[in-house]
Protein backbone atom coordinates (compact mmCIF):
# COMPACT_ATOMS: atom_id res chain seq x y z
CA UNK A 1 0.00 0.00 0.00
CA UNK A 2 1.29 3.46 -0.91
CA UNK A 3 2.26 5.46 2.14
CA UNK A 4 3.87 8.80 2.99
CA UNK A 5 5.09 9.38 6.55
CA UNK A 6 6.27 12.73 7.86
CA UNK A 7 8.29 13.49 10.95
CA UNK A 8 8.31 15.13 13.34
CA UNK A 9 4.59 15.81 13.77
CA UNK A 10 5.40 19.19 15.30
CA UNK A 11 8.54 21.28 15.49
CA UNK A 12 9.23 24.44 17.50
CA UNK A 13 12.23 26.51 16.46
CA UNK A 14 13.76 29.74 17.60
CA UNK A 15 14.11 32.31 14.85
CA UNK A 16 17.38 31.62 13.03
CA UNK A 17 17.61 28.00 14.23
CA UNK A 18 17.98 25.84 11.11
CA UNK A 19 16.41 22.37 10.93
CA UNK A 20 15.05 19.68 8.59
CA UNK A 21 11.68 18.04 8.09
CA UNK A 22 11.56 14.41 6.97
CA UNK A 23 9.24 12.68 4.50
CA UNK A 24 9.58 8.90 4.08
CA UNK A 25 7.65 7.36 1.22
CA UNK A 26 6.63 4.01 -0.12
CA UNK A 27 4.91 4.95 -3.36
CA UNK A 28 4.66 2.56 -6.28
CA UNK A 29 6.35 3.93 -9.38
CA UNK A 30 6.91 7.37 -7.88
CA UNK A 31 6.27 9.96 -10.58
CA UNK A 32 6.95 13.04 -8.49
CA UNK A 33 7.37 14.15 -4.88
CA UNK A 34 5.62 17.37 -3.93
CA UNK A 35 6.04 19.72 -0.99
CA UNK A 36 3.21 22.03 0.02
CA UNK A 37 2.82 24.67 2.72
CA UNK A 38 -0.55 25.02 4.46
CA UNK A 39 -1.52 27.96 6.65
CA UNK A 40 -4.49 27.68 9.07
CA UNK A 41 -7.80 28.02 7.26
CA UNK A 42 -6.15 27.92 3.84
CA UNK A 43 -5.58 25.32 1.16
CA UNK A 44 -2.13 23.84 0.55
CA UNK A 45 0.23 26.09 -1.42
CA UNK A 46 2.64 24.47 -3.84
CA UNK A 47 6.36 24.76 -3.02
CA UNK A 48 8.42 22.18 -4.95
CA UNK A 49 8.31 19.12 -7.17
CA UNK A 50 11.19 16.62 -7.16
CA UNK A 51 11.43 13.81 -9.69
CA UNK A 52 14.62 11.83 -9.17
CA UNK A 53 17.03 10.87 -6.43
CA UNK A 54 19.72 13.48 -5.96
CA UNK A 55 17.55 16.33 -7.16
CA UNK A 56 17.46 19.52 -5.09
CA UNK A 57 15.30 22.63 -5.33
CA UNK A 58 15.53 25.90 -3.41
CA UNK A 59 13.24 28.79 -2.67
CA UNK A 60 14.29 31.52 -0.27
CA UNK A 61 15.06 29.79 3.07
CA UNK A 62 13.74 26.40 1.94
CA UNK A 63 15.60 23.61 0.18
CA UNK A 64 14.05 20.28 -0.75
CA UNK A 65 16.08 17.15 -1.48
CA UNK A 66 15.13 13.65 -2.62
CA UNK A 67 16.60 10.18 -2.14
CA UNK A 68 15.14 6.84 -3.20
CA UNK A 69 13.24 6.51 0.08
CA UNK A 70 13.05 9.96 1.64
CA UNK A 71 12.73 13.64 1.01
CA UNK A 72 13.93 16.40 3.28
CA UNK A 73 12.81 19.99 3.57
CA UNK A 74 15.67 22.01 5.01
CA UNK A 75 14.82 25.36 6.58
CA UNK A 76 17.76 27.72 6.95
CA UNK A 77 17.58 30.57 9.48
CA UNK A 78 13.77 30.42 9.71
CA UNK A 79 11.61 33.45 10.45
CA UNK A 80 8.25 33.56 12.26
CA UNK A 81 6.48 33.89 8.89
CA UNK A 82 7.72 30.39 8.01
CA UNK A 83 5.34 29.01 10.65
CA UNK A 84 2.88 26.69 8.90
CA UNK A 85 2.14 23.02 8.30
CA UNK A 86 4.38 21.50 5.64
CA UNK A 87 2.86 18.64 3.64
CA UNK A 88 4.70 16.09 1.54
CA UNK A 89 2.92 14.08 -1.17
CA UNK A 90 3.93 11.47 -3.73
CA UNK A 91 2.33 10.73 -7.11
CA UNK A 92 2.01 7.01 -7.74
CA UNK A 93 1.85 5.06 -10.98
CA UNK A 94 -1.94 5.47 -11.19
CA UNK A 95 -1.46 9.24 -11.05
CA UNK A 96 -2.85 9.53 -7.53
CA UNK A 97 -1.39 12.03 -5.04
CA UNK A 98 -0.76 10.46 -1.62
CA UNK A 99 -0.31 12.96 1.21
CA UNK A 100 1.46 12.63 4.53
CA UNK A 101 -0.09 14.06 7.69
CA UNK A 102 2.25 17.04 7.74
CA UNK A 103 4.72 18.69 10.10
CA UNK A 104 3.43 21.69 12.08
CA UNK A 105 6.27 24.19 12.29
CA UNK A 106 6.28 27.06 14.77
CA UNK A 107 9.08 29.63 14.66
CA UNK A 108 9.38 31.94 17.65
CA UNK A 109 11.05 35.38 17.58
Amino acid sequence: EDQVTQSPEALRLQEGESSSLNCSYTVSGLRGLFWYRQDPGKGPEFLFTLYSAGEEKEKERLKATLTKKESFLHITAPKPEDSATYLCAGVNNTDKLIFGTGTRLQVFP
Binding site: G43, F99, G102
Partner: protein
Amino acid sequence: GAGVSQSPRYKVAKRGQDVALRCDPISGHVSLFWYQQALGQGPEFLTYFQNEAQLDKSGLPSDRFFAERPEGSVSTLKIQRTQQEDSAVYLCASSLDGTLGNSPLHFGNGTRLTVT
Protein backbone atom coordinates in the same frame (compact mmCIF):
# COMPACT_ATOMS: atom_id res chain seq x y z
CA GLY B 1 -10.05 34.31 -11.48
CA ALA B 2 -6.48 34.03 -10.33
CA GLY B 3 -6.95 30.96 -8.17
CA VAL B 4 -9.28 28.12 -7.28
CA SER B 5 -12.43 29.42 -5.65
CA GLN B 6 -14.66 27.38 -3.35
CA SER B 7 -18.03 28.23 -1.85
CA PRO B 8 -19.36 28.35 0.71
CA ARG B 9 -16.35 28.74 3.02
CA TYR B 10 -18.31 27.34 5.93
CA LYS B 11 -21.38 25.13 6.00
CA VAL B 12 -23.28 23.87 9.01
CA ALA B 13 -25.78 21.11 8.31
CA LYS B 14 -28.07 19.14 10.53
CA ARG B 15 -27.60 15.40 10.35
CA GLY B 16 -29.65 14.04 7.45
CA GLN B 17 -29.58 17.21 5.35
CA ASP B 18 -28.16 17.32 1.84
CA VAL B 19 -25.32 19.75 1.03
CA ALA B 20 -23.72 20.99 -2.19
CA LEU B 21 -20.18 22.37 -2.32
CA ARG B 22 -19.00 24.36 -5.31
CA CYS B 23 -15.58 24.65 -6.92
CA ASP B 24 -14.45 27.11 -9.60
CA PRO B 25 -11.07 25.92 -10.89
CA ILE B 26 -8.40 28.04 -12.53
CA SER B 27 -9.53 28.89 -16.05
CA GLY B 28 -8.16 26.46 -18.61
CA HIS B 29 -7.17 23.79 -16.11
CA VAL B 30 -8.01 20.35 -17.43
CA SER B 31 -7.92 18.34 -14.23
CA LEU B 32 -10.00 18.86 -11.11
CA PHE B 33 -9.70 16.98 -7.84
CA TRP B 34 -11.71 16.81 -4.62
CA TYR B 35 -9.99 16.00 -1.34
CA GLN B 36 -11.26 15.59 2.22
CA GLN B 37 -9.10 16.85 5.07
CA ALA B 38 -9.84 15.92 8.67
CA LEU B 39 -8.39 18.02 11.48
CA GLY B 40 -4.66 17.41 11.88
CA GLN B 41 -4.50 15.11 8.87
CA GLY B 42 -3.29 15.40 5.31
CA PRO B 43 -5.79 15.69 2.45
CA GLU B 44 -7.31 12.39 1.30
CA PHE B 45 -8.34 11.82 -2.31
CA LEU B 46 -12.04 11.64 -3.11
CA THR B 47 -12.47 11.94 -6.87
CA TYR B 48 -10.87 13.24 -10.08
CA PHE B 49 -12.14 14.77 -13.31
CA GLN B 50 -10.40 15.34 -16.58
CA ASN B 51 -12.53 17.92 -18.35
CA GLU B 52 -16.10 16.68 -17.83
CA ALA B 53 -15.17 13.02 -17.43
CA GLN B 54 -14.98 11.58 -13.93
CA LEU B 55 -12.01 9.26 -14.29
CA ASP B 56 -11.63 8.11 -10.70
CA LYS B 57 -14.13 8.11 -7.86
CA SER B 58 -12.48 5.44 -5.78
CA GLY B 59 -12.01 7.74 -2.78
CA LEU B 60 -15.68 8.62 -2.29
CA PRO B 61 -16.51 7.15 1.14
CA SER B 62 -20.06 6.04 0.32
CA ASP B 63 -22.81 6.32 -2.27
CA ARG B 64 -24.05 9.39 -0.39
CA PHE B 65 -21.21 11.31 -2.04
CA PHE B 66 -21.61 12.43 -5.63
CA ALA B 67 -19.54 14.81 -7.76
CA GLU B 68 -20.11 16.32 -11.17
CA ARG B 69 -18.40 18.66 -13.61
CA PRO B 70 -20.91 18.82 -16.47
CA GLU B 71 -19.21 21.40 -18.69
CA GLY B 72 -15.62 20.68 -17.79
CA SER B 73 -15.24 23.77 -15.62
CA VAL B 74 -17.21 24.31 -12.37
CA SER B 75 -17.62 21.24 -10.19
CA THR B 76 -20.08 20.40 -7.42
CA LEU B 77 -19.59 17.87 -4.65
CA LYS B 78 -22.91 16.76 -3.20
CA ILE B 79 -23.34 14.89 0.04
CA GLN B 80 -26.74 13.38 0.72
CA ARG B 81 -28.13 12.58 4.18
CA THR B 82 -25.08 14.04 5.93
CA GLN B 83 -23.64 12.21 8.93
CA GLN B 84 -21.40 13.53 11.71
CA GLU B 85 -18.41 11.66 10.29
CA ASP B 86 -18.73 13.80 7.14
CA SER B 87 -17.51 16.83 9.13
CA ALA B 88 -14.22 17.91 7.55
CA VAL B 89 -12.69 20.46 5.21
CA TYR B 90 -13.41 19.68 1.57
CA LEU B 91 -10.64 20.90 -0.71
CA CYS B 92 -10.84 21.36 -4.45
CA ALA B 93 -7.72 21.51 -6.61
CA SER B 94 -7.02 21.93 -10.30
CA SER B 95 -4.03 21.35 -12.52
CA LEU B 96 -3.14 22.47 -16.00
CA ASP B 97 -2.90 19.10 -17.68
CA GLY B 98 -3.98 15.55 -17.12
CA THR B 99 -0.77 14.18 -15.65
CA LEU B 100 -0.13 14.97 -12.00
CA GLY B 101 3.57 14.32 -12.23
CA ASN B 102 3.96 17.09 -14.80
CA SER B 103 2.06 19.94 -13.20
CA PRO B 104 1.29 20.64 -9.55
CA LEU B 105 -2.14 20.90 -8.00
CA HIS B 106 -3.42 24.36 -7.10
CA PHE B 107 -5.78 24.23 -4.16
CA GLY B 108 -8.70 26.37 -3.08
CA ASN B 109 -9.15 27.36 0.56
CA GLY B 110 -11.75 24.69 1.13
CA THR B 111 -15.25 24.42 2.54
CA ARG B 112 -15.42 23.56 6.23
CA LEU B 113 -18.45 21.32 6.73
CA THR B 114 -19.79 20.79 10.23
CA VAL B 115 -22.61 18.30 10.69
CA THR B 116 -24.52 18.70 13.96
